[in-house]
């Protein structure tokens, strides 16, 4: 740790805090070493000028506050990223996610303002400080630049998380479509996703510009987004009614379609049974002819048999009569 003399004990008491923060977060590896290195010669040099010390301690206080806020925002961003990555179909928590997004947006805006203030403060200091604590000026400008770059990194991470979230929402909507019936969901996704796409593209385009401009542009985007969200909600109520009507009518259309299919199936089944009826018809015709033929045969036989007996009786009678006459004659 740094060895100190009187004056700026406040700065040094803050140093350990900064050091602990750095140990906790992976996003702040450089701050403690830089501050230590740069601050120790500065402490030794300007131990005399207490007034400059007080200014610098103010600067260090603000810088450390900003550092802490950035770290807190980073933690929230991590949580949001984890929530947005979840791919469950039904357990999505849109309320929580949107709340988190809103909070993070506000935090980033606030941090922007604070860093802008810090920058102005540094410029004032540099213009006021006549004697040559050139290293102090360099150091403060370095610190400001580092804070700005870290905030830029956070904002780009936030933008990535937002993009990931829109992709996931689209994917879940697609998957829901596969399980449910509606066909007009395409129109739905277009209308509801396009505001979301517009809101997402704006941070992307703004952050492509250099870091200084990004500070001012980011301040304006949150208010625009809020206004857009209000408009979207008003248009949405009307859209919902119209969309529910079109859903109902489409379900009627599909029912009619199904009914048509059912009728066709019915007709096909009945035509299949027509063949069976024809077979039965042919069979019964055969039966009729067979039975009539058999009856004719039997009749013939009966007549034959009955006629036969009559003949035999006649022949028998003639033979017996002849036999009797022969015996009588002899």
């Amino acid at each position: 740790m740094v060895s100190e003399q009187g004056g700026s004990s406040s700065t040094l008491s803050l140093l350990p805090k900064l050091d602990q923060e750095s140990l906790r977060s992976r996003a702040q590896p450089n701050i403690p070493s830089d501050k230590r290195r740069l601050l120790s010669p500065i402490e030794q040099q300007s131990a005399s000028s207490g007034h400059a010390d007080r200014q610098r301690s103010d600067f260090a206080v603000m810088a450390s506050l900003i550092g802490k806020d950035i770290q807190a925002t980073a933690a929230k961003l991590q949580k949001l990223g984890r929530l947005a990555k979840r791919k469950t179909l039904f357990d999505d928590r849109p309320v929580e996610i949107s709340e988190l997004m809103y909070i993070i947006k506000q935090d980033i805006a606030k941090l922007n303002k604070q860093i802008a203030l810090l920058q102005n403060h540094v410029k004032e200091q540099n213009s006021k400080a006549s004697h040559g604590s050139k290293q102090a000026m360099e150091h403060s400008s370095n610190v400001v630049v580092m804070l700005q770059s870290r905030l830029a990194a956070q904002t780009s991470t936030f933008k990535e998380v937002l993009e990931l979230r829109t992709e996931n929402m689209k994917a879940t909507k697609d998957r829901r479509e596969q399980f449910m019936f509606t066909t007009q969901q395409q129109a739905n996704t277009l209308s509801s996703d396009s505001p979301l796409y517009n809101l997402d593209r704006r941070p992307a385009t703004s952050s492509s510009q250099p870091a200084n401009n990004m500070l001012s542009l980011d301040l304006s985007t949150p208010s625009q987004n809020l206004q857009q969200q209000e408009q979207v909600q008003l248009v949405d109520a009307n859209n919902q009614y119209i969309e529910s009507r079109s859903t109902a009518i489409e379900s009627i259309e599909s029912t009619l379609h199904e009914l048509g299919g059912i009728f066709q199936q019915l007709a096909q089944m009945v035509s299949e049974q027509r063949d069976m009826v024809q077979r039965i018809d042919a069979n019964t015709d055969d039966i009729e002819s067979n039975v009539t033929g058999a009856q004719t045969e039997l009749l013939k036989y009966y007549s034959y048999v009955s006629s036969n007996r009559w003949l035999m009786v006649k022949v028998f009678a003639v033979i017996i009569s002849s036999a009797v006459t022969l015996s009588v004659l002899s």
């Binding site: 008003l234 109520a237 009307n238 919902q240 009614y241 529910s244 009507r245 109902a248 009518i249 379900s251 009627i252 029912t255 009619l256 199904e258 009914l259 059912i262 009728f263 199936q265 019915l266 089944m269 009945v270 299949e272 049974q273 069976m276 009826v277 077979r279 039965i280 069979n283 019964t284 055969d286 039966i287 067979n290 039975v291 033929g293 058999a294 009856q295 045969e297 039997l298 013939k300 036989y301 034959y304 036969n308």
Partner: protein
């Protein structure tokens, strides 16, 4: 699913004034009816005031939902229902009522005197639309289609049974046919073969 009140409110003046309204509070106890009725009138006037022309809104309040549709002529229709009533039916009812009302009394000067714009059909509407499936055309069509579908399913089942019976008939006629053929052959054989001798 119930409708509690329908009203037509004039919202191009502030405060909004009710022109006609109709309430069905039979589900509440006798002593609560007047206060609930006042509350509903107040609620319809408030939400009609806050609605822009050409805008539809559904506002939820304790256990009532108010559906409001503001027309561009300066009148708005408000329907107060419970939470389960489908909003689509409420809005189509509002469309119908407002269309009829504006064709009947297109002159906006008449609206300032509620006595001149009687609208007795509201009573009928509130009764028929108590059951949304009864009142709304789309739902009626859907319901009839569903019934037709059920009847068709039963028809197909009976056709299947008919098919089974046909099959058994075919088999039986086949058997009979072969039996009669045997009968014929036997009879024929008897005729040709050895006579009793």
């Amino acid at each position: 699913m119930k409708i509690f009140a329908i009203s037509v409110v004039r919202n191009n003046v502030k405060p909004a004034k009710t022109i006609v309204d109709e309430k069905d509070l039979a589900s509440f106890s006798y002593f609560q009816r007047s206060s609930i009725g006042e509350f509903m009138t107040f609620m319809s006037q408030t939400i009609a005031e806050k609605t822009q022309p050409g805008q539809r809104q559904s506002i939820e309040e304790s256990n009532y939902v108010g559906h409001v549709y503001g027309r561009s002529e300066g009148v708005a229709g408000v329907v107060i229902t419970d939470k389960e009533y489908p909003p689509r039916v409420a809005f189509s009812l509002l469309n119908k009522i407002l269309d009829e009302f504006t064709t009947k009394y297109p002159n906006s000067a008449l609206w300032s005197n509620p006595g001149q714009c009687p609208y007795p059909e509201l009573k009928q509407y509130i009764v028929t639309y108590q059951d949304p499936k009864q009142g709304d055309t789309i739902m009626k069509v859907q319901r009839e289609l569903d019934e037709t579908k059920i009847i068709l399913h039963k028809t197909i089942e009976s056709v299947l049974e008919r098919g089974e019976k046909m099959e058994s008939l075919v088999e039986r006629s086949d058997v009979l046919s072969s039996q009669s053929k045997m009968f014929y052959k036997t009879a024929k054989k008897q005729n040709a073969c050895c006579v009793i001798c």
